[in-house]
Homo-oligomer: 320 residues x 2
Amino acid sequence: MPIAEFDAIARYFTQAFPKRADVILGIGDDAALSSVPSGMQLAIAIDTLVEGVHFPKGTHSENIGYKALAVNLSDLAAMGATPAWMTLALTCKKMDEVWLTGFSQGLLELATRYNVSLIGGDTTCGALTVTIQVTGFVPPHSALRRSGAQVGDGIYVTGTLGDAGLGLASMQKRVVLPRKVQRFVESRLNRPTPRLVEGKALRQCANSAIDISDGLVADLGHILRASGVGASLQVDRLPLSKALREVMFPEKAWQMALSAGDDYELCFTVPPNRVAKLQNALPQDIYTHIGIIEATPGLRCLDTNGQLFVPENRGYQHFV
Amino acid sequence: MPIAEFDAIARYFTQAFPKRADVILGIGDDAALSSVPSGMQLAIAIDTLVEGVHFPKGTHSENIGYKALAVNLSDLAAMGATPAWMTLALTCKKMDEVWLTGFSQGLLELATRYNVSLIGGDTTCGALTVTIQVTGFVPPHSALRRSGAQVGDGIYVTGTLGDAGLGLASMQKRVVLPRKVQRFVESRLNRPTPRLVEGKALRQCANSAIDISDGLVADLGHILRASGVGASLQVDRLPLSKALREVMFPEKAWQMALSAGDDYELCFTVPPNRVAKLQNALPQDIYTHIGIIEATPGLRCLDTNGQLFVPENRGYQHFV
């Protein structure tokens, strides 16, 4: 099915996308027009997924569509922002109806869940590359930043870590897993849940936040550098899923939790005097206290005996 | 020069980018934060350039950087919007310092001229693909749309048409041109001037507008379809540059002006009772009256004798 222009594609697959009152003019003109709620600031994030780099060849297009939006929503979650609109730049070899149907369904699933309008885009011919930009709203002076961590803050993460890393190993046939574990970890890789609700709730208590896309060590490292602080982590506190614990020895699981990316959980820091607020803001089974912000630069991971535990690598890096 | 993350690249080449008071937090966090002038609406456009599709392999990276922003600013111009911020998704095989320096210089030149901040981005590894999204401001109810053309409107274009098409033929060595002509038409291809000033001025008089990226016939066709009208054009009124007239017979030049893309001029329609306003809004040597909007659907191109003149093709189409 050759298609000439984005608006043709968009009409084909976006009928069902959420309509928002703040979108004045959507797809089909030179630019989209939208309005911003009075007093709100904008949070803007852009992320690209490249076939063979961010997802293996052969990934179902529904998962690609889902994930391309999920990673962007995760960025807004890490700022405490509420998503509103997205634009899509889709580059692919050819426009295949089956592929597009799956892609749009994945995109639509998440867009519907979080009320995100698709307001514009561009389709081009080339190697499969998906870029989404999302725009969201956040009240002035309330966005969560990487740079706000203070000495004495507790370090927390949402959910469990390392699942997506094991999911990637499974998809790449580097491990063979029990069917139930496989389904769970591959779904964690392909269908991460952006922590939008949690990010918004954290605005009232966290000093800093980031989403974990490149691995805890790498992403917490961004907070430490941006805030000019250091940290200690206790690896035996790292939250591990039942699935991960079922198939990995603790030391291997900790490595996975520290270094594997793609979990899209939030890592955040909370000062001691706002822990009560945190307990009010989020159910306690959603987050785990894993360490503390310290003045000494660098990140120290400590094992059960208080000995240094050295992460095997420091997260995924492009072009390296 | 391997580079790990966009913020590293951004810091390397974006020091000189315009700083705007409405950018609260730029590159380096999960999302950028910005504020919108009270009462303004947003105009949002996204465009991708793919090597080998939108520019020939071997195009100087400075021209790629320039053009990637220019085509997006042209979209805002066609809406009558004023640009404010951009995000950049850059996919390339490797990060080469010389290539990046050129790319950033081209981008910077245009960003500086129109006071556009680079507020975020993503770099990924893959086939050379550049996606830019721009956000601009426009007062409520004043944006120019494709859908506003009325029967009786005059049809106008800014500048001259067909130059970029001849420039592409020259770059692809399909024609050999006198040096001066070559320089001019290749510069029209590689360095289009987004008609931002003109677009803004047209808000007070035009019923509809579009930028000419795919060729006049194709892009005016978008206005006609969106407005539910037809049109007649007089091909001998098509504005041709001295360079084009110097090397092409009229009939070939008209074909080029009708069908070649990449000129990034504006095509717009003005009702008879606002022609005086148009004359006040824009210097007369900037635009040309080329036809009229009619009730009968379709586009009729007429030659000097009033005979039908058939355009050779209907503009560039992806995936066809």
